[in-house]
Amino acid sequence: MKILYFAWLRERVGLAEEDVTLPAHITDIAGLITWQRDRGPGFAAAFAPGGQVRCAVDQEFAGHDTSIAGAREVAFFPPVTGG
């Protein structure tokens, strides 16, 4: 699965995108976020509890309870600030 990072999430994790193979027990965004926190200090800071992490699954905005089964692309980012 492809994971993308934007804005200050990208800066904190130090990656714009990566391909990952997830453990089978991770089935939704909430589980993926918990898993991310153990990947190092940058990830821990980016995904700290109480943070403002938003996400999209296959380029659609998604809540933390959204399934990632079969997803090709998940993106994490701060609340959007365009316009």
Binding site: L4, F6, A7, W8, Q52, A56, Q59, E60, F61, A75, F77, P78, P79, V80, T81, G82, G83
Partner: protein, 154 residues
């Protein structure tokens, strides 16, 4: 009548010509009113002076999100055309960032749809702004609660 609706969605680094864009809407048959909003880079925020504003976006998803917002506007108002142009990359103070515009037979639909387009774009399209200041600090702009209130009016 959907075949007669003009819809233009552009995400680009280049500047746009507001007058030329609006002229495309003015030229549509049946149009009586064209409303628009242009957002520009302010030179000061929070008492600090900006050197640049950088706009990051999510290629692929951005175009989908903007198209969805335009479709919503077309479903809610009897539009004859709408335009969303959003620049990305690093822009100096005073630069144009975004154009939202809508055309209809009558003014109220054009004005309301334009307000809807820009309010929804602020909360429902994957763009992020970073401010670079003259004191060499940088700041990722935080989302404003007022923007969510504005979008939820519609």
């Amino acid at each position: 009548m959907s075949s007669t609706i003009m819809r233009r969605i552009l995400v680009q680094t280049a500047d746009f010509d507001t007058g030329a864009q609006l002229a495309c809407l003015e030229a549509r048959p049946g149009v009586g009113g064209i409303a628009s909003f242009v957002g520009t880079v302010r030179g000061q925020t929070g008492g600090k002076t900006l050197t640049a504003l950088t706009l990051e976006h999510y290629p692929g998803m951005t175009e989908r999100a903007l198209t969805g917002i335009a479709q919503q506007a077309e479903a809610r108002w009897p539009l004859l055309g709408c335009i969303i142009i959003h620049r990305v990359g690093t822009l100096p103070p005073g630069a144009r960032i975004v154009l939202a515009a809508a055309a209809s037979a009558h003014r109220q639909a054009a004005l309301e749809a334009t307000g809807f387009l820009i309010d929804w774009l602020k909360t429902n399209a994957p763009f992020w702004k970073r401010e670079d200041f003259t004191d060499h600090t940088t700041n990722w702009v935080e989302a404003r609660a007022a923007d969510h209130e504005a979008a939820s009016r519609w």
